[in-house]
Symmetry: D3
Subunit: 244 residues, 6 copies
């Protein structure tokens, strides 16, 4: 039995609420256990320089944590300089995940900018950000379609993310902070609704791990992603008209 | 009649919810119309250098806006350098307001750090921040008392803040964004529960204003502060034990 | 009697000298007691992006202190990053004050940039900066008129600034540094020659203050501004042709 | 046949030269095809704050590219601010790899700082950095042992890294730049001499990939690491006394 | 005849006024033609880390230009980052010049910090800064002696600086801005009262120059320095008690 | 006899190798004793703003040291801000030296960017950088001629640099680090093949020096430059076709 009573292959309770910020083209609050992240999607009529005049669009992301989202207050990351390496890594991960499931050639020369801001952090903030980001991104695409910016929703697949790891010698799904800080292996998987990998990132925090352990972790991740994509499908099934 | 149906001397609906972030020593969500601010209070066992070994404590504040709290997405203020002038001004204002209603010599050599993060901005974010900050600050003081850090709550008075201004030639209380952007005079008042001034900041955006106008605005502010302090008293009447 | 022998409603000796920096379109040295500020005005043939193609001009300001203008040497503000909050606040204050007394639609798409650099600081540097800035600004406008850049001097009114405060329980005009550091209430007033308010900024440093105190301070400020505007009128009465 | 005549499971020619920088406690030049990286190890008698008084040591790394190591000149990363996200990611990766194969409790309260500077970049600079870093790190540990700083070399295992990827639909080992820029899947594996994983980082650049592809890539990586560790063993078999 | 009527070996009129900033331990205004620089000296009871516990003192300098000291307004150097290369070069030059004429082992573990701020720039600001800095530095040493911080003034020699250059094919002394911008060779010499070199910095702006030209320029510099040291001696002959 | 057995007028062994970085338009490794610098030249089809539409080209330089090029590891200069004053000074020196021996009006509106990166530092890194930079710069000019970017090589003269100094009371040529750190006078001379001065930079580190000493140092420098230009001529006599 795990610290919070779950089995090793069990997700924390997940809830996604759409339309939580009225000015954004898409927005979602994702709650995964005690982790809470506000995700918003903004449409901007520009693309990065390397895409200029290529007829394609782009998706990028920013990630932040409120200073007191954590047990001990953190400084506001990036005040006084660039954000730290962890933040930059997460931002690039979220952006790549979103770009892997849309056809960028169908959204015109515009950018979708996803902001993920962690209000409360109990482990898995980067994976919750991806799972929540997908929902507000789809809402922004629907906004674009309703407003004649795009002809159709260029959605190829669903995408969600989850952490897995080895804690106390046991492979486990969806680590909370207490588990995460003691994990020997820490892994984040981004996977599509069709079960294909977008990202596989595993790190031995303590001692290196075997191929068998890797396989067990990948299987747990598959189970978790299935559950998360199911929730995304349920939440997104109705057209939603945000206030903006 | 105003844009949103209020009379000139009427506040927007205000709601304050305590305990919204489980790790903070005090936290509050303040909603004033469509403006929403998350306020948290953190206790740190240090004081700034100028207070070292003086036997006194300190209160300071940081203020931020989520990028999509506004109609048009803003860049994350301070990423890549110091926060801008407006942010620094607001941070110092919140800090001074909190320090004006506690006896700093009774809180020991420690600091209370208030974070105000705007989730949705519809005018009056700095004044809502002060009104909400007061609530989480009191909760953090009660936390300190419960945990033996301080002997008694060194609360001298209540403190709240409100904006007033001249819009379409009319003095008005508690401007929303649509009113604020057209205001000829823009004023923020910070006042104690006893009706004394902590801050008076008035600016002629268009043309300079007379002493009579100043007096009318100060009277509207007094009415607004009375209402806000009433809500603070109601919200704070029960001891609240946060999860931390 | 005050520390330096003045009565409570008495300004320090003020002297304004025009033309102190030969390359500037306008320049003035203001001496108010031991406070000395060099003010220069520069005309630039650009406007900020938000005014592009609007047919209007702009006035902005920068403020700095020489490192040894103060009792203890200060670091050069802004070296290694953005200027601090106090500097940014003062810069915006000077700019707003200048803009409040000219008709920006009559100066063409160009900017007037005012620099105020404090050589010696004995309290009231921000208010002396405003009072001095006005003089060099008018000289730069006259330069523009002489050189055919503008058709007429778009001067609506005079503008000056002064500090007032409560020291040892007494409301006083034009605080020197020794008074300022002990003040219970500290207030800066920017007012036009016609006696209208441009800015009212009052802060309780120690304990909050009553409406009566506010009224007494506003009356002292009015007296001070009258004196300062009188000096501006005297100093500006002759056309001055700078060397540039 | 690949662009440079290799088979899919073949490494580029690899050469490691020890002692290339006379002042460093350990140094190595690694050449992998046209990729060339100078690695140096520095011993510092301090540890990061979080290890203070814990009786343990630390290993950290910095990574840089000479501006003209690439086809098109790059700006010096980090000049004018923090290094970019890619650099920070690589630095943390190198540090974790080194820490995974030594017993940090046996090196005393001191830090080993590895610098990897790319002179010429033809793909695989991060993995070459790790493979070369290991060699100079061992030399620095031997330096420490010779000089009585540590009692024994706390070496647990060898560690090397290699890239694998899917190019033109084919899984391949050790991508050169021309292959890397066209890869559909890009993966970096850090593995010990005993064949255990330290890091698994795979990214779908184009479309998501299946579990079967993942397995094929992991097998190619295993083959490559075996070859690289063989070279490390050969190169390190003699004690080397650097000039310092 | 030169642009301003001087002969090739003639200095501009030079005037040095002591005690111009009342709070500084030493201060001087140097006027050399239209160039005007305010120099102040501050005594700080610390030394840089590399001199800790060595029983010696240090002298360092900062240099700045008011934005409108020049024909075209300059940005405030260093706001938003480090000062530019020219400023850093000048700062180090002033510091070295001051350190060359005092016995640092006699001033105790303290630092003298010289600030040179250019109010009006007509060429030769770095050399005027050195010549003026020397005067305020000596006044600060005398302040230290009067106040018992040091036993005697550890003055070894006088030091001054001057520019020389080749303009219109002619070697000339003490270039004004109009001459400086057209110079083929530009040289700054720092020399002691005894005629020894502290710094020789010559640059061919256009085409390289011969050894003969170098000798002619060094002779002109010698003449100029003699004149400047004569003025320093005259100005410093009386003990001066600053207001601080 | 000197620390390393040389006579006072003797250079260290110097070796220059062309074509060491395959992607650069020109590259050279210069070894002067134990000092080693990698120099590369990059051609960019832009000029700085002040040369826009003037029909002329430009040459600029950047300089860096690998962290462990020195006895004690240095921080990467410029990470987290602008490079330090020494780096900026050296960069400007290299650029001016290159510009002094080409006719910029014959290279079109393009820039040559020289990068000098020190791999191992044993004194004289700035002068070795200049001597090596010249070689890769000529190779880049030849690349430009071969590729039809310019009609002829606009080479006016050779240019090299060397340090001289007074150590243990003796004037010496080409100081190594051990000599440099004890030098009383430190001087860097940049001179053309025709024996004309481009730069003369001499500094009294300890006590000021006489005109006689200056003359002896200049004569030693002349001897050294002659030797270095001889090596440049030998190395550059064959056309070299880099791999790019």
């Amino acid at each position: 039995m795990r610290r919070d009573g779950r089995t090793n292959a069990q997700l924390r309770p997940v809830k996604i609420t759409r339309g939580v910020v009225k000015y954004a083209e898409g927005s979602a609050l994702i709650e995964a256990g005690n982790t809470r992240v506000i995700c918003t999607a903004t449409i901007e009529e520009t693309v990065p320089p390397f895409l200029k005049d290529k007829g394609k669009g782009w998706v990028t992301a920013e990630y932040g944590m409120l200073p007191r989202s954590t047990h001990t207050r953190m400084n506001r990351d990036g005040r006084g300089g660039k954000p730290n390496g962890r933040t930059l890594e997460i931002q690039r991960l979220i952006g790549r995940a979103m770009r892997s499931v849309v056809d960028l050639s169908l959204i015109g020369e515009r950018s979708f900018l996803i902001d993920c801001d962690v209000v409360q952090a109990d482990g898995g903030t980067r994976t919750a950000s991806i799972t929540g980001a997908y929902v507000c991104f789809i809402d922004a695409l629907r906004f674009a379609a309703r407003n004649g910016m795009i002809k159709k929703i260029p959605q190829i697949d669903y995408v969600a993310a989850v952490s897995v790891g080895v804690v106390d010698g046991q492979p486990m799904l969806d680590l909370c902070y207490e588990e995460d800080k003691d994990a020997d292996v820490d892994m984040n998987i981004v996977m599509t609704g069709a079960g294909k990998y977008v990202e596989v990132q595993g790190t031995a925090e303590g001692s290196p791990f075997t191929g068998n352990t890797l396989n067990e972790l990948l299987e747990l991740a598959r189970i978790g992603i299935e559950g998360l994509v199911g929730i995304q499908k349920e939440v997104l099934k109705d057209e939603f008209v945000s206030g903006n």
